[in-house]
Amino acid sequence: MITTIIALACVTFATRYLFLAKHLPFTIGPKFQRFLSFSAPCVLTAIWVPIVFMQNGELASNLHNPYILGATMAILLALKFKSLYITTFGSLAVFFVFF
């Protein structure tokens, strides 16, 4: 069992470390870097959108559910305040009012 766990750890660490390895003989040019600059907003959006719009593996059918109302509030707060804490706790409050 421990061997299996170590093997799994090697897989997860390898995916994280591979492109940080010095000996990997390639450089990222400005165009590719520009392409990659979109990665964080895209990945994070691809993580939060299904949390909000899908429950139990199905698309939300009702727009008046706490996830969508809370996310709407989060977007408004994020646009207005640009603060991690205000957005998170403000929209959580809305979410739990309707939850």
Partner: protein
């Protein structure tokens, strides 16, 4: 230095708390599936990957082949290749004592704080990232430990709505950075395609959705720069 440490802790704190139900689940699910306490904790100490851990625990309990287990874990972890690629230019010239730990802590959560154009530049920003990443590691292992020792007495906490907290935090991190149309449409394409990939249960959905969004953003940006 103190400010960098404090900011790292404060920025990661909401996520540290929000993942509590899944950390506990990782601990309790492992115990339920016949892991010893040590093995259950080692999953979080060494593998340190929420969704990959949960899936691996269930597969190991089902006695699937070693190769299937490794491939499945790789598929779930493949998105980290994209994270490493994205921060390569910022990190590759740093000594191993920084690159090693940062790579080890490079979860979705740490990557969420890696977008700043000066991220990882200079010692303070490296300390910031390391503190943020390490605090998440500690929290994840603490929640796993709770799951191991108390999982059987706790109800399932994953349906308490804390998944919304994760969504809210990511919204808080993404939305202020949407400064022009290419980024906006990149996000829209990623979000919509992810919904589609989820409904058809495409395993590389997250990576594919991200790449589609990135391509959209890149092409629109290139078009804008031309005109």
């Amino acid at each position: 230095m103190k400010i960098a440490i404090k900011k790292g802790l404060l920025d990661m704190l909401p996520l540290n708390l929000a993942v509590l139900p899944w950390g506990i689940l990782c601990g309790s699910l492992a115990i339920q599936n016949g892991f010893s306490a040590l093995e259950a904790q080692l999953m979080s100490l060494l593998v340190f990957a929420g969704s990959a851990q949960l899936v691996a625990i269930e597969l190991m309990a089902k006695d699937v082949s070693f190769v299937t287990l490794l491939i499945t874990t790789f598929i779930i972890s493949a998105r980290h290749l994209l994270y490493g690629l994205s921060i390569r230019n910022k990190m590759v010239d740093k000594p191993l004592k920084w690159r090693g730990p940062i790579a080890f802590f490079l979860t979705d959560e740490l990557f969420a704080f890696s977008h700043h154009h000066r991220a990882y530049q200079g010692k303070l920003r490296l300390v910031y990232a390391l503190v943020a990443g390490f605090s998440f590691y500690l929290a994840w292992n603490l929640w796993t430990f709770f799951g191991i020792v108390a999982g059987q007495f706790l109800p399932d906490l994953t349906n308490l709505g804390l998944d919304f907290a994760i969504a809210a935090i990511f919204i808080a991190l993404v939305v202020p950075g949407i400064s022009n149309l290419p980024i906006l449409l990149a996000c829209v394409v990623s979000g919509l395609s992810m919904l589609y990939f989820k409904t058809v249960e495409f395993e590389f959905g997250l990576v594919a959705a991200a790449l589609l969004g990135m391509t959209t953003g890149y092409l629109l940006q290139a078009k804008e720069d031309k005109s």
